[in-house]
Symmetry: C2
Subunit: 328 residues, 2 copies
């Protein structure tokens, strides 16, 4: 079978591709495990060469997800599995509404329509977000049954796609699953336009000996997930038995609710004697306005019942990051 990962050259997409290569098989449209012959990493901009850890089963393809013909050409054979990760991020979506609508909503719909056109009802894993929750009536812990009243265009488009995936699945057009991602820590590389980017930066920059500005107060509480666990969770939800999922195909992935201060403490504990770049709290109104409307903790009863993985501790996430990206 062919596997398509949109947004595939990003951090999560690349790690997911490696995981699939190691595994060697995935559930095909019939639900049976099939050998993965080909993985296409689709993205709007490509790195100069294949990311590390790939083999000759993997290729990259450049294109716009908001272009219907491009998406139709990408999702082109019945024996396929699709991981739809491509997205304008939260801060980016607040700055360019039309881009968020085009990429997240139109692009997402093209992916679903292309899958439907195959006639094989392939599995589709969509990465949604806990930014689908928000608003004045949001409870302290957002469980799977909380009404979604997102307060960003990003969150709105993600909630819309969740609704569409439920309906396309109900109609038998595809076998969809939405993984609602908590904030993923610790992303290597450079900051991005996500309002949550600092949740990685506050580990990454100090460990690189670089000074880091934290744009929200230390008591801000937020649900986070380790980058290894998020990839395992995405893959486990893709592989889950379709009937066990039920009519709501969207699951918040299990997370850890932590304050910014607790995250700083975890880094201090794990870093030990390592020299760390200075961390300064310097509130940024644009980021704060977005983050204040996000959930402080996210329930994941349904995901846990389905057997999706959970981080052991914040310290373990920091330790993994140091092993994978610092001490190399």
């Amino acid at each position: 079978m062919k596997v398509v990962i949109t947004g595939g050259t990003g951090f999560v997409g690349t790690r997911l591709a490696r995981k699939i290569l190691d595994k060697g098989t995935l559930a095909g449209p019939s639900g049976k495990q099939e050998p993965v012959d080909e993985i296409v990493l689709f993205d709007v901009a490509l790195p100069p060469s294949l990311p590390e850890g790939m083999d000759d089963r993997v290729s990259m393809r450049q294109g716009e997800i908001a272009d219907k013909d491009t998406v139709d050409a990408l999702i082109d054979q019945p024996d396929i599995g699709v991981f739809h990760l491509a997205s304008v991020v939260s801060g980016g979506g607040e700055k360019d509404f039309d881009l968020a609508m085009r990429v997240n909503l139109d692009g997402g719909r093209y992916v679903l329509e292309a899958c439907r056109a195959l006639g094989s009802a392939p599995r589709v894993l969509f990465t949604s977000s806990i930014a689908t929750f928000g608003g004045a009536a949001m409870p302290d812990v957002v469980g799977d049954l909380v009404k979604q009243t997102p307060q960003t265009t990003y969150g709105m488009t993600k909630a819309v796609l969740e609704l569409m995936i439920n309906d396309y699945t109900r109609k038998g057009f595809l076998d969809g699953r939405s993984a609602r991602l908590p904030t993923v820590i610790i992303r290597p590389g450079k900051p991005n336009a996500a309002a949550s980017s600092f949740f990685s930066g506050m580990f990454r920059e100090p460990l690189a000996g670089v000074e880091c500005k934290i744009p929200v107060p230390p008591d801000v509480r937020h649900p986070v997930i380790g980058y290894r666990t998020v990839v395992d969770g995405i893959l486990a939800l893709y592989e889950a038995d379709s009937d066990a999922i039920g009519d709501d195909r969207a699951f918040t992935l299990p997370s850890t609710s932590a304050t910014v201060a607790e995250l700083m403490d975890a880094l201090d504990r794990v870093a030990g004697d390592r020299p760390l770049g200075k961390r300064t709290v310097e509130p940024d109104p644009f980021i704060q306005d977005i983050v204040k409307n996000w959930p402080r903790a996210a329930g994941a009863d349904r995901a846990l019942a389905l057997g999706l993985p959970h981080d052991n501790s914040l310290d373990d996430i920091v330790r993994a990051y140091i092993a994978d990206y610092v001490d190399i």
Copy 2:
């Protein structure tokens, strides 16, 4: 100011237009009351002449809501108020998925985009539906904070528009409000493709001396609203102070939860000695499959707090219908 009512020649649209004519003014984009100079009833198919009770402020325009240019030409001046009622109905949407997506989702988005393009942030009242609720996890009473997991394409597209209206409002592109309609009884005229059509037919046909088949068992419970009250509720939500609405612009209109048997009893009570056409329960699997996933009762705390109207009794609805449409 100009008032546009999409789906305006329908039952609710026509009664709404009459109400606005009587009232004479509506809240304009600034929130201040303005004289209504013009009402345009936009619809995909028009009656041969203006509906009864209109005057020279009213005109009709034929067109497709799923055509962007048509919508742009309709919503063409900053000093405007829009009631977006046009929609493929529930049963119709189950039979033609693409039509529901085109009319309800694309058409709705064109309406929002046309309003945004005016730059005046006009008020937009959208008629959503309690069919946005559903699914295995739905509680017995769906309140305003229940997660929306619709089980029809109709319900899905309505939920998507609610999300978009919240976001367009948050962004300041327009001042949106979504009225989630319970099943409206008693619609005069002919049955339509709505799966809920029988909730009107079971009154209308017997009162016309016509035999009537009821496609669900008598113990089916469902929230209904009288046709006078629904129009009053739509108008009251349009007129409500914007700041009092908050970040979730969608309100379930207050309804009465009644079983099919209780509705039959109400007709018997009010009809008294009138001869009634025979009512036969004859389950229809297509209708039953849709209706079984709808809410049995709908909470409306937020709507009541905002002062939206509530029916006094089922009997009053039947009495009004006899006065308005039978004894004329």
